[in-house]
């Protein structure tokens, strides 16, 4: 029994592992062509990643990627392509930063207030795309792309000037970001939790408390999807909207709800930075939304799969820094690896699916050969 279980686990992880291996091989070829030594580059990456401080960096990077991946995954489950995670988290980021700086509250309430604002803003903005889809028939890909533009070059650019710390500063005076949030609104780091298992974290690195929030989001996502009636409604509506409709699930309602939930999780993506620095800077961390789509794809929309994918991407992102410093290779190799991983993952998943099907059939045939007459 345990033997079969390990076999199944192996099959399940075969695809992503194959994807990573193929990505390594292809990247090596690219490195060789560009005149670098792949072994040296990988050695640098692995050695770097074995340090506790780097691992903290990886987790800090993986946390927002995970949230972004889950946001995209919720949409995918309902057959919706929420490209707008990018805009949703930036908008939530700036609004939460601004409002969070306006209030004075006890610490727990203050933090909760900021997170709720971020989720509400992300949810409403994404839900709007859902409403547009069901009332006006606007495809969510188009509407979220446009809403991204509205946020990135519109609202955020305007509000960063409007909500500038120290009042409006002339354009030439430079932008310094929004008013900082009081200490009570910042989520403390959880280095002490990590240090229970390891040594003291050095170099002033801080493990983000948002990691806990991300884990909670992952568990809640899993439980809702698989253990509740609502989750069943969502999965069935995504798989076959007409049959699900006949079964009592309004597809329109489901589209709006799924978009809203996706946006709510997206709203949390920027909180890793806000909870640490306390303000929306003139150049906030960007592109997390788009990367989240890739993370969801690699993780097959599965809560644990997405986590692994976020860690892989976090590792690659953090490694690009060391490659540049050590000079072993160009940092762009990391981007190539990411792309290759996604492509090979998609193919590998299909191959594994077929292998599994064939194996099941063969096993059944063997079982039947052993007991003739059990064919009724």
């Amino acid at each position: 029994m345990t033997e079969r279980l390990t076999h199944r686990l192996m099959l399940a992880s075969a695809a992503p592992i194959a994807a990573v291996v193929i990505a390594v091989v292809l990247s090596s070829i690219v490195l060789l062509i560009s005149g670098s030594n792949p072994l040296a580059a990988y050695a640098d990456m692995v050695q770097h990643a074995s340090k506790l401080e780097t691992q903290v960096d990886i987790l800090n990077r993986a946390t927002p990627l995970y949230l972004s991946g889950v946001a995209a995954a919720i949409g995918f489950r309902m057959n919706l392509f929420n490209i707008g995670v990018e805009g949703q988290y930036l908008l939530a980021f700036i609004v939460a930063a601004h409002l969070g700086a306006q209030v004075e509250l006890p610490s727990v309430l203050h933090i909760a207030f900021i997170l709720v604002v971020a989720m509400a803003v992300g949810g409403m903005f994404s839900g709007a795309a859902g409403v547009l889809k069901v009332t006006r028939g606007v495809n969510e890909v188009i509407s979220t792309i446009m809403l991204n533009a509205v946020v990135i070059s519109g609202l955020a650019a305007w509000w960063i000037v409007e909500w500038q710390a120290g009042g409006e500063i002339s354009a030439t005076g430079g932008r310094v970001g929004t008013e900082p949030i009081a200490e009570s609104g910042l989520l403390p780091d959880i280095n002490s939790w990590l240090e229970v298992f390891t040594r003291e974290v050095g170099l002033g690195k801080k493990l983000t408390g948002m990691l806990v929030v991300a884990l909670v989001v992952g568990v809640v996502y899993h439980v809702i999807l698989n253990r509740t009636v609502f989750g069943f409604d969502l999965r069935s509506s995504g798989a076959n909207p007409t049959a699900s409709h006949v079964g009592g699930v309004s597809p329109k309602r489901m589209v709006v709800i799924a978009m809203t939930l996706s946006g709510m999780v997206a709203g949390l993506v920027g909180m890793t930075e806000l909870m640490d620095t306390g303000y929306y800077p003139s150049n906030p961390i960007s592109l997390l939304g788009f990367t989240g789509i890739a993370v969801a794809l690699l993780g097959r929309n599965h809560p644990a799969g997405v986590a692994v994918a976020a860690l892989i991407f976090g590792f690659l992102d953090v490694s690009s820094g060391i490659l540049q410093i050590s000079g072993a290779a160009s940092r762009e190799i990391v981007e190539i690896m990411k792309g290759v991983i996604i492509l090979t993952a998609v193919i590998a998943y299909e191959v594994v699916r077929r292998i599994r099907e064939r194996e099941e059939a063969a096993a059944a045939a063997a079982a039947m050969a052993a007991s003739p007459g059990a064919d009724a």
Partner: protein
């Protein structure tokens, strides 16, 4: 002359079942060969093997005497074999022409599709085989019989000489069946060999030159229609008598369970597709709706289920006005539904059987408790449906994909019946179910009727309508045009009402 098809020792296993077990089949050139057998006997599987969709585990295939190994439908098409599936595979949003040439597009330079050449070839095929269809119609707008014709033309367009039709008559009303049989005879006259699957034995006896019966994956025998009766065939298939639907004593009560009054549903351009329909179904009553497909039955059913809003009239369920109540609420009030198109409206094909067993009832016990799903309850119910409704499957963990067409249907009927509905909307409930299982479903509906179930039965099977209903109403162009007593109406009369002939002739 070598037979057109010769299959020897074909075996195919799926997890937990032997779908085909050492099957031998010989089909002579230019004959109409019928394959019969109960649900899950392995008919579709055998045809898919012949069409190169699934490889056999063992056995050989000979086409016109040459041994071949088929790895894909493309290869089968090369050899002149074409197949029309049990569940249609057309793209709704494309036109007839686009659907027909899809995958076999005639090309002009620079990778452009040569629609003109495609159209000409299509017309040619249509003329040669006497198949009439408008190339520019959107498939979405076609009726079932026409869709089927498109599927057949699609196959002929690719030059098929051997045609496989999987349950072609299951979706047709009698008039359309006549039309199809005319087409099949013409195809035969122009040299084609036809293999088809059918559960209706009188149809088989009418058209086939040779009949092969399968049972549990094995060949039971090959017979000529002149030598056997429908009874003999049924016995070969299931080892028991051919059942006849029979309503039994009336159990109709005074209590109205479902009432429609002045119901109107607007179609395209404000034309009423359901026009002023008033009808009541009592507890313990089965009301049958007869009609040629496309006369508003689908829209009427949709309005009752709640997925299409009527623009006039009132629907009352158990004394409550539900005209604008949500689908879920209606289902929870005790409205059961067996949809006409099981793949589109009835199943989540990629989900397990136990998840499918809950679809439409997921808010009710034992499938859930409050907001939480109960996997135990879902599995328990699924196992009960499997046992009570004889759904042939190794276990309930397989996905709905893995069931044969008839077993999928049994799962849906079972799901609705175990929920113990107050009102059942049964839209072609026994479509694709073999004769034995059909009798079981009829018995189930009758049992429930005696316990007070009100049933609205929509069916293309006139024997089923007449045998099961307490009252039959005829629907024509959106209106209820006649109300008949099943005890003194024959299928022939009913057919005349359905096409409007009886009304024009001045009958009541």
């Amino acid at each position: 002359m070598a037979p057109a098809i010769e299959l020897t020792g074909i075996t195919k296993r799926f997890p937990g079942v032997v779908a085909n077990d050492d099957i031998h089949l010989e089909v002579a050139e230019g004959e109409i060969h019928a394959i019969c057998g109960e649900n899950g006997a392995g008919k579709s599987t055998l045809m898919k093997i012949l069409y190169g969709m699934q490889p056999p585990d063992s056995g050989t295939i000979r086409i016109q005497g040459d041994e071949v190994e088929l790895h894909s439908p493309a290869q089968a098409i090369e050899l002149g074999i074409g197949m029309v599936h049990q569940h249609f595979m057309l793209a709704d949003q494309l036109t007839v022409l686009e659907n027909v040439i899809l995958g076999a597009e005639p090309m002009r330079s620079l990778g452009r599709i040569d629609f003109q050449a495609g159209r000409e070839h299509l017309d040619e095929v249509g003329r040669a085989y006497g198949l009439d269809i408008n190339a520019d119609d959107l498939v979405e707008t076609l009726e079932v019989g026409e869709r089927q014709r498109v599927e057949i033309i699609k196959v002929l367009y690719r030059g098929a000489k051997i045609l496989i039709l999987d349950e072609p008559t299951a979706v047709l009303v009698p008039q359309e069946v006549d039309e199809l049989f005319r087409n099949i005879r013409e195809l035969k006259a122009s040299g084609a060999t036809i293999l088809f699957i059918d559960h209706k034995l009188d149809e088989v006896l009418e058209i086939a030159d040779t009949i092969t019966v399968l049972r549990q994956g094995r060949t039971v025998g090959t017979v000529k229609p002149g030598e056997v009766t429908a009874h003999d065939l049924a016995e070969m298939m299931i080892g028991s008598e051919l059942p006849v639907p029979d309503a039994g004593a009336s159990t109709v009560t005074e209590e109205v369970a479902l009432e429609l009054s002045g119901l109107r549903v607007a179609g395209e351009g404000d034309r009423a597709v359901v026009d002023d329909v008033t009808l009541s179904v009592h507890r313990g009553e089965i009301v049958g709706i007869a009609g040629v497909e496309g006369n508003g039955q689908a829209e009427l059913v949709n309005a009752i289920i709640g997925i299409q809003d009527p623009d006039q009239g009132v629907i009352t369920l158990l004394g409550r006005d539900i005209t604008h109540v949500s689908v879920r609420h209606r289902r929870e009030m005790g409205l059961g539904y067996v949809p006409q198109d099981r793949h589109r409206d009835g199943l989540l094909l990629g989900f397990t059987l136990w998840e499918n067993a809950a679809l439409g009832h997921q808010t009710e016990k034992p499938y859930s408790r409050g907001p939480w799903l109960s996997r135990l309850g879902m599995r328990g119910r699924a196992n009960r449906i499997k046992e009570d409704f004889d759904v042939r499957t190794p276990n309930i963990e397989v996905s709905a994909h893995a069931l044969s067409g008839g077993n999928q249907q049994k799962l849906i009927v079972g799901r609705e019946m175990v929920a113990d509905p107050a009102v059942l909307i049964a839209n072609h409930p026994t479509r694709g179910i073999d004769v034995g299982a059909q009798a079981a479903v009829w018995d189930d509906i009758r049992d429930a009727r005696s316990r007070g179930l009100a049933t609205l039965l929509v069916s293309a099977d006139l024997d089923e309508l007449i045998g099961l209903s307490d009252t039959i109403v005829v629907m024509l162009r959106g209106r209820l045009v006649a109300r008949l007593d099943p005890n003194d109406v024959t299928p022939r009369d009913l057919g005349a009402y359905m096409t409007g002939a009886a009304l024009e002739a001045g009958a009541p």
